[in-house]
């Protein structure tokens, strides 16, 4: 019954460090392996959580899936398109969001919606309906003509959410969805994710917050030092323990100390 919509195949990515970066990270190597032979799949309609500490390679992985970074090797098939050979198709089928998605401050929500709808080539007939629907759902109408510079953080975040799904993507990729947000805005975001899932969309999110995975995700992949150390449903991965305990057991197993 389930259909694989995302298939990550053996992705690798390293960064060449500048002398300054090398000094800053106290690293003896000139290269940093950010993602190391990573493979996993996600099924249509599920919420998949990529869990890992800071520096585990979550952002790098998601950026590769969004075709912003090119992998050294490996590939990923996103909604039928390869990130290596069909990046434009991939971009038109995904919505990519970070908690710090930046919008130009001098524009209004109305303008930005139309601008991104144009970039996504959303047909005019569909666009009006979609704008009405999304602006109503997120209560944007009342500040639709206010410049982004004058919006509160919560309003900005709502607008970012809307902008990321103007084109009604099949997959939404969200890097650290609640990072840096106050509790109320964070709640808006988690509700948004639940809504998406209820509509049958696939959500891939990354986080370092255990409770977020526990409350939202169907399946989880634990990422440490760029490698996937466990992947499966929450029950399979945790086997009766809490997610936090499971994570730290795996973390120390790999020779890391706290």
């Amino acid at each position: 019954m389930s259909e694989t919509i995302l298939e990550v195949q053996d992705l690798c990515k390293h960064f060449r460090l500048s002398a300054r970066q090398q000094k800053l990270t106290h690293s003896p190597d000139r290269v940093k392996k950010a993602v190391d032979h990573l493979s996993f799949t996600a099924q249509r309609g599920e919420m998949f959580g990529l869990l890992g500490p800071n520096g585990a390679g979550k952002t790098t992985t998601l950026r590769m899936l969004a075709t912003l970074l090119e992998p050294d090797s490996g590939d990923a098939i996103v909604a039928g398109a390869s990130i290596r050979t069909q990046p434009e198709q991939v971009r038109s089928r995904i919505g990519f969001l970070t908690s710090e998605l930046k919008l130009e401050e001098c524009f209004t929500p109305n303008f930005l919606f139309d601008f991104f709808a144009d970039l996504h080539q959303v047909p005019d007939q569909i666009r009006a309906r979609r704008k009405e629907e999304l602006f109503t759902r997120f209560d944007i109408h009342k500040f639709a003509e206010v410049k982004v510079a004058n919006l509160s953080t919560g309003m900005k975040q709502k607008l970012s959410l809307v902008i990321s799904i103007v084109h009604d993507p099949e997959i939404v990729i969200f890097d650290e969805p609640t990072n840096g947000l106050d509790v109320i805005t964070a709640r808006v975001v988690t509700n948004f994710l639940k809504d998406l899932r209820a509509q049958g969309k696939t959500v891939i999110l990354s986080t370092h917050i255990f409770s977020l995975v526990e409350s939202l995700c169907d399946r989880v992949g634990i990422l440490i030092d760029g490698a996937m150390v466990r992947c499966g449903t929450l029950e399979d991965v945790c086997q009766g323990r809490t997610l936090e305990d499971t994570f730290f057991a795996l973390y120390e197993e790999r020779g890391n100390t706290l």
């Binding site: 912003l68 524009f107 144009d118 970039l119 047909p123």
Partner: protein
């Protein structure tokens, strides 16, 4: 549903024109400031270009007719007449600043004038006035004498001509070619235009490219399916339009203040007798030049992480372009060598000087325009590559 190119182009314009301070600072202010500045500078310069009020020109005369001699002896003329026997010797005295003007009358002038009827269709008796336009005194003296003779002539019912040069080829202005040839406009305008267009680009391109990188908004566009080439070209076209408007404002300010900058001392005023073809040629040069400038500034900005950094990168280029613009002040008109028109920026300078001196050949203009368009296309291509590059867009 619109093409990505048009969407980006419109967005860039909307961003610029939505910001009133940007519009005033980039488009309105430059022209206004230049106008005010040059107007003040002009009135200071005017004092240098005028002679003392009690100035009495020394006029050398060959074969002074009796009629004028009588006028002069009666003290009716505000001139000092100096009899000169030989015209060539007199000319040398004008160049040597011993005389201000040399008037050469034909033999038996009075009789010839009395005998002449305009209806006869024969040549009127002619007076030649030699002067030196590079010297303010000589220029002024020339105007005075010419006016006097004109007045005298009309009382005689148009019976003789002043500086008519019926044979052609006579040079009345004795200033050497360098002094008179390089007119103010053709020597200064290339540099001014380059500076104006460059400062227009500097005001918007770093902000639009490095600024968007700095604020992270370019990443938001990069996750949409928009083609990177459309992003690059859309930005460059929109920024060029804005830089063009800014350059236009500065140029307008300059042109409007020219009458104040150069006082009208007789014939020196710039003759703006250019044809539509001249203006079309100038428009072509300005257009391809602004595209190239914006492409260069955009490329440098794409390397930078912040607007400040971008401006640091761009400043040396501006210096280079300024120096290239200055070459027009020392050169002698447009070059006719073909390869010169392949050198970016220098070809623009050559074209502009050529247009103002009327020496530019159409095929050289076409070559310059085509080569600049090629360089711009190359710039767009590189910028596209940079938008593709994670190193450039997501560097830490």
């Amino acid at each position: 549903m619109k093409s990505g190119l048009w969407t980006i182009f419109r967005k860039e314009l909307a961003r610029f024109f939505g910001d009133k301070r940007m519009v005033v600072g980039t488009i309105l202010l430059p022209g206004l400031l230049i106008f005010v500045m040059y107007t003040f500078m002009g009135s200071a310069l005017t004092n240098q270009f005028t002679v003392d009020e009690d100035f009495i020109p020394k006029v050398g005369v060959v074969d002074l007719p009796d009629s004028l001699n009588q006028l002069a002896e009666g003290g009716a003329l505000p001139l000092e007449l100096v009899p000169v026997t030989d015209a060539e010797q007199g000319k040398a005295q004008v160049t040597g600043e011993e005389l201000d003007v040399l008037a050469v009358f034909p033999d038996g002038f009075d009789q010839a004038v009395a005998a002449y009827t305009p209806a006869s269709g024969e040549r009127a008796p002619a007076v030649a006035l030699y002067y030196c336009s590079a010297r303010t005194e000589s220029q002024t003296a020339y105007s005075m004498v010419a006016q006097l003779l004109d007045g005298y002539e009309s009382t005689l019912a148009n019976k003789f001509d002043v500086n008519s040069d019926q044979d052609g080829g006579e040079m009345y202005d004795l200033s050497n070619e360098d002094e008179a040839g390089a007119s103010f406009l053709s020597s200064l305008l290339p540099m001014l235009l380059l500076i104006f267009l460059f400062s227009g680009s500097m005001a918007v391109a770093p902000e639009s490219i490095a600024g968007e990188k700095e604020r992270g908004t370019i990443a938001t566009m990069l996750i949409t399916p928009v083609k990177r080439s459309h992003l690059a070209l859309g930005k460059i076209l929109a920024l060029s339009l804005i830089a063009l408007l800014s350059g236009l404002s500065s140029t307008l300010g300059t042109l409007l203040s020219i009458p104040n900058l150069i006082p009208d001392t007789g014939e020196v005023s710039i003759s703006l007798s250019y044809t539509p073809a001249h203006y079309a040629a100038l428009a072509v040069v300005v257009l391809v030049t602004v595209l190239l400038i914006v492409a260069c500034v955009s490329l440098l900005s794409a390397f930078a992480k912040t607007v400040k950094e971008a401006q640091t990168y761009v400043t040396p280029l501006m210096m280079v372009v300024m120096v290239v613009g200055m070459t027009a002040m020392f050169g002698d008109g447009a070059s006719t060598q073909v390869w010169v028109y392949l050198i970016p920026f220098y070809n623009s300078v050559q074209c502009i000087s050529g247009i103002f001196t009327g020496q530019l050949q159409p095929h050289l203009l076409a070559l310059a325009a085509a080569s600049n368009l090629c360089y711009t296309a190359l710039g767009v291509w590189v910028l596209t590559r940079m938008f593709h590059s994670e190193r450039v867009m997501f560097q830490r």
